[in-house]
Symmetry: C2
Subunit: 345 residues, 2 copies
Amino acid sequence: MTRIQKVAELAGVSTATVSRALAGKPSVSPATRERVERAARDLGYVVSATASSLASGRNRNVGIVMPFLNRWFFTTAMAGAHRVLTDAGYDVTLYHCEPNRLDDPDGADNPRRSRLFADSLLRKRTDGLIMVTLSLTAAERTSLHGIGKPVIALDRPQEGITALAVDNLAIAHTAMSHLLELGHTRIGFVGGIVPYDLDFHVPLLRRQGYEASLVDAGLEIDPLLMCDAEFTVDGGYDAASQILGAGEPPTALFAASDELAIGAHAAIRDRGLRIPEDVSLIGIDGNPLAEVFGITTIDQHPDAQGAAAARELLKELEPTSPHAAAAVRLPFELVERRSTARARD
Amino acid sequence: MTRIQKVAELAGVSTATVSRALAGKPSVSPATRERVERAARDLGYVVSATASSLASGRNRNVGIVMPFLNRWFFTTAMAGAHRVLTDAGYDVTLYHCEPNRLDDPDGADNPRRSRLFADSLLRKRTDGLIMVTLSLTAAERTSLHGIGKPVIALDRPQEGITALAVDNLAIAHTAMSHLLELGHTRIGFVGGIVPYDLDFHVPLLRRQGYEASLVDAGLEIDPLLMCDAEFTVDGGYDAASQILGAGEPPTALFAASDELAIGAHAAIRDRGLRIPEDVSLIGIDGNPLAEVFGITTIDQHPDAQGAAAARELLKELEPTSPHAAAAVRLPFELVERRSTARARD
DNA sequence: CGCTACGCTGTAAGCGCTTACAAATGAAGC
DNA sequence: GCTTCATTTGTAAGCGCTTACAGCGTAGCG
């Protein structure tokens, strides 16, 4: 006897009615619903997710796919999505998509990733997917389309996939404007000349914004003022050190993320320079760490980004609910702290 | 016609054989297996996880339950577990368990958490659970036992639950020994006089280790040298500031985590003190951030802890595989960097 | 040569739910 | 009173797999 039958028996109704009552369907009389709920509670009955999925075709489970499982930006966005999804009654299963390296753009040598797209994601465990900052190969996109389920890409527009992305060019522009308005003309850029890997184009966009702002301001682009960096504190330290040690030093540093900025902060101090007296410093993200160091930043609210992506997915998953038709905007804003100041004359 | 039937037809066998072949069962002749695999590949067939779960009773999915979804220690441990589990063919679904606050120890006012234990976790979506640093109420433990599935607790021993935990007393002792051997006698403690919340007892254990070390060394415990802190960089900054500002300042600070230590690092510098000349500083965790600041730490390899928990769970999930009978040890070690030095006379 | 043993495959009964459809009930309208 | 219709409930057919059991062919053995 299946478990639902026991509940049906106790409540004196059919299993169909139990199913309907527990699913909150409208076509159940209040009295019956009450009896069923009591019976379920008394028996400690909870609907089996698998049986329900198989019968209904809906999993109440969404997948979140991320290239990094323990970096602040990613986990914070994930947490934002997670909250929205669980509040809507969904579970979330987390998939790790290893980035494809530049020397292996098709992921031929990336077995875990291959399995992800050829297997795990196709198992019909989820009703939809949120992919964070990933760049998919054509084959992967095809594979994803094959499952016929809604996919939202966060912070990386993808051909044929609904995407939510913050305007990285505008972010970079905002940061640069702040520095330029303070009178800085020698501004260094920390992070992202060459993409670290194919699944993380954000650095590139931010550098383009940096260069465009320079050009707009009539300043020239000095390669000595730019340095590649992995998107970590370490990377920021090394890149900033290199910029500060080469040629005429900058009076301001624009780091493509807060983690890079924190590394740069340490590098600047370790060279005996003062912030902001000798060097102004600005980052991007809204990482709480930056606050401790008093680093000015552009907060892009990753938590809210994740939440927005989740709501967007939910809209596709539950067409019944009212569509908030408005296009989603992912806001960001300058947060001035003590790491930026007027340039010395 | 169900999808598996198409494969069966194409391969010229029964669905039973397809199932067996694709599941890697031994009782399939090589030739048949080959034909089935080809047919599946040609049709782009992948077994439906839900149907398979319902029929077999195994989900190939484990749940990881964490109090914080975006803090370094937790996500790093989770990533370690995730890798082991996905390599073993499991998916992982992530559950957020909101910590119970001190003023609400039973979680009466914690609806998300109630739903987690009364509903989400009971839906039979997972084959087992890993709970990270959580303290369960009696009711929650009962509820968990009810589902009759293996549960591993990481870093928080629980009555009636298999637990893996690093020896926090020993960790604290190692850190203190390092400081004491360098001749420090006024050592402050940053973080964890009173538990931040009921689900995170680690701070308490570390403080106990701190006090025990002091006593062992014949030193006295000075309340002015200890300060509570939330386990964040911010918290470390504030707590360290307070300790440095009260009474006779310490010559060394022991922070209960690397994040706290980084905050303390900033606080020390902001007071115009030098590290390590004026104040030595040691943290705990192995957070890569600490490296950038040259902070000495006790690395407890959270990634490895997560992986160990996952392997432990896998052992219970797949009794067929050979038991590595050895008890699991979670190692840690002192990593000396430039933030600790001999005390001035 | 008959019998057991073994390896491989097929048959078919579920796994625990959901839901289309049918049926029963009662209220409302004429 | 009879029809119509909405509301509530029940009946039963799956959802797409897995697996116990049975069956078949061949090999080994006395």
